[in-house]
């Protein structure tokens, strides 16, 4: 009897934890969705009005505002610039450290985690100090790119590092070189395919960081998407929160796409198809 009871408890507890956690995350979002998409006064939002007057008209108004599109364009441009700079700098650095300077790995890990520990506002303070000496650069909207590279480092480096640790990169590189491939070909044909998933993850994480970054953009008076969202919420609270919810949904979709694209895909080359379909092979393997 006791054994049966403990078995029931053992099965139920994990389910209960999952249920409570789901509610913890879903309830505020559902409340936000109701507030944003129901044309019902907040004070009347209750169980009796659960299905009343749902509408997206509030949020569609934002799509007619030029300021929204320009801030979105800017955020996407910043995201693209950050991705290019991050991947361009970080992939060769991480590779170099893994292959040639393994002892520096701990130092690199420490450096890349620093932006996570130091708040963005501290970086703003630093930028303000150097701003008088670098106005030509810091007055440009794209000045945010290098700072976003730094902010995204804890995520991007960890993603790449995990990818690098998952394979015996040194042996694969040596194998490629012993088969006649120089460094460029070894990188393209051997190393990068092994890091495909890690690089895609790093790209998506970078985009997510840039699309959600508010402190730096707002302090430097750069009208990217998050500062625009803040302004819009102040002006049109209901539609503003709807926009925030849409941004959140977009990020979720982004991660779903990430999961989809990073699934292992292995295609047969024409050489394999030729060998498999050759008469010699067919005779040995009639099936």
């Amino acid at each position: 009897m006791i054994h049966r009871l403990s078995s029931v408890v053992a099965k139920s507890v994990p389910r209960l934890v999952v249920l409570v956690c789901s509610l913890f995350f879903a309830a505020p979002l559902l409340a936000l969705a109701r507030y944003s998409f129901q044309n019902v006064p907040t004070i009347l939002l209750g169980w009796s009005t659960l299905f009343d007057k749902w509408s997206v008209t509030g949020v569609t108004a934002v799509f007619r505002e030029e300021a929204f599109w320009s801030s979105l364009r800017l955020s996407l441009t910043l995201a693209a610039g950050t991705v290019v700079l991050t991947i361009g700098l970080l992939v060769p650095t991480a590779l170099w450290v893994h292959l040639r300077l393994p002892r520096a790995r701990a130092l690199l890990e420490f450096i890349t985690v620093l932006p996570y520990m130091v708040p963005a506002i501290a970086m703003v303070a630093g930028i303000m100090i150097i701003k008088p000496h670098a106005r030509w650069f810091l007055n440009s909207d794209l000045a945010l790119v290098p700072f976003y590279v730094v902010l995204a480092l804890p995520f991007t480096y960890r993603s790449l590092d995990t990818g690098l640790r998952a394979v015996d990169l040194r042996t694969l590189v040596d194998a490629g070189r012993s088969l006649g491939a120089g460094w460029p070909r070894t990188m393209v044909r051997v190393v990068l395919p092994q890091l495909r998933v890690a690089i895609i993850s790093a790209v998506f994480l970078t985009v997510a960081v840039v699309l959600g970054e508010y402190t730096l953009a707002n302090t430097l008076l750069i009208q990217s998407l998050p500062p625009y969202q803040e302004l819009f919420v102040g002006r049109e609270p209901q539609a503003g929160y709807a926009l925030n919810l849409l941004a959140l949904a977009s990020t979720t979709v982004l991660f779903a796409v990430l999961a989809l694209v990073t699934r292992p895909r292995r295609r047969q080359s024409s050489l394999v198809r030729a060998i498999v379909s050759s008469p010699a092979h067919s005779s040995e393997n009639p099936s």
Binding site: D168, A175, S178, G180, P193
Partner: protein, 346 residues
């Protein structure tokens, strides 16, 4: 004819010396094994030959040409690694094709060559599989085919069997030897496993602390070890403490033994006589002791004898038929044939 020649190679990593005046010459088509304990410099030597490391001093010659500074991808060396080194994103056939494609061979030639290689390793039916779908032994066979596909002048094998279980290891070892003979390629094989080295090699190069201790056929290395290190490292060795008592005589617990290889030592020098188990026999005269254990191995048996006057347990390997009546705990006598024994002064 010598094809690969390592001349006085020296290599340090920081304060640690990996290779010290390491020289070696291999003949066309032979399989030479670099044998030694971990850290003896055998893998460093192989990596220098492959072009992955640059020596601090010395040179590597291939067919009479100095290739010390030639980059790895231009050396014409095929290599099989200790860890599984197949490219995970490529199928078996594409892995074998990698070097051919890199070299720019025409598609029909590549197809023919990949087919030949897969036939050589008997994995034609696995052409479309990916590395994760193969066993460890199959992966190493594909790695071997991939290395041989580009027809390198020298094949380098860096402990290719060490990650495999004993049964696969033994069969793959034989297969490597068969393929090496069939292709007739000069091969440098690195291992720390003496059985593997003795079974597979034309010649064995025993290394210790970055130096070549002995280079010889497996039989030479086993039967006539050049140094006490080789004697201890290759095969089992009994160490009998004694004192040099004459020009070619050693006294073991008061018993005079003829030991020609201690002829250079002056009388009264204390040391150890290193004797192979098969050079000891259960006989009428010699060192008295008690049988501690008996292990039957079919044609031969291993007998452990406690010789109290030496303070040692001696291992004797004898034909099973000659030790039929021996029992654990019985008193016996161990005869010593020291004609090949090595003397080590202490």
């Amino acid at each position: 004819m010598s094809i690969l020649h390592l001349r006085d190679l020296r290599k340090s990593f920081g304060s640690s010396v990996a290779l010290e005046e390491c020289s070696l010459e291999t003949r066309e088509g032979e399989l030479v094994t670099l044998l030694g304990p971990s850290g003896c410099g055998k893998t460093t030597a192989l990596r220098i030959v492959a072009g992955f490391e640059t020596p601090d001093a010395g040179s590597v010659e291939l067919g009479g040409k100095d290739i010390t500074r030639v980059p790895a991808h231009r050396r014409s060396m095929g290599m099989v690694f200790q860890g599984y080194s197949l490219f995970p994103n490529l199928s078996v056939a594409d892995n074998v094709d990698f070097g051919l494609r890199t070299r720019g061979d025409a598609a029909p030639d590549r197809r023919r060559r990949v087919g030949e290689m897969l036939e050589l390793i008997d994995l034609v039916d696995h052409a479309a599989k990916f590395p994760h779908q193969l066993s460890g032994g199959q992966q190493q066979r594909v790695a071997l085919a991939r290395a041989l596909a580009v027809e390198p002048r020298v094949l380098l094998l860096d402990e290719p069997l060490s990650a495999l279980d004993a049964k696969v290891r033994s069969s793959l070892r034989d297969e490597i030897r068969r393929i090496q003979r069939e292709v007739g390629i000069t091969t440098l094989f690195v291992t720390h496993d003496q059985d593997e080295a003795l079974a597979i090699s034309d010649r064995v190069c025993v290394m210790s602390q970055g130096r070549v201790e002995q280079l010889g056929t497996p039989m030479e290395v086993y039967r006539a070890p050049a140094t006490p290190f080789v004697a201890r490292f290759v095969g089992t060795m009994n160490e009998l403490p004694g004192i040099v008592s004459g020009r070619e005589t050693v006294s073991l617990a008061g018993i005079e033994i003829h030991a020609p290889r201690c002829s250079g030592e002056s009388a009264g020098t204390a040391g150890r006589l290193l004797v192979r188990p098969e050079d000891l026999s259960i006989g009428e005269s010699g060192l008295r002791g008690t049988v501690v254990s008996l292990a039957f191995h079919g044609a031969t048996s291993a007998i452990s004898v406690d010789v109290q006057r030496l303070g040692r347990y001696l291992t004797v390997v004898a034909p099973s038929s000659t030790v039929d009546d021996l029992r654990t705990g019985a008193e016996t006598t161990v005869a010593v044939d020291a004609s090949r024994a090595i003397w080590e002064a202490t």
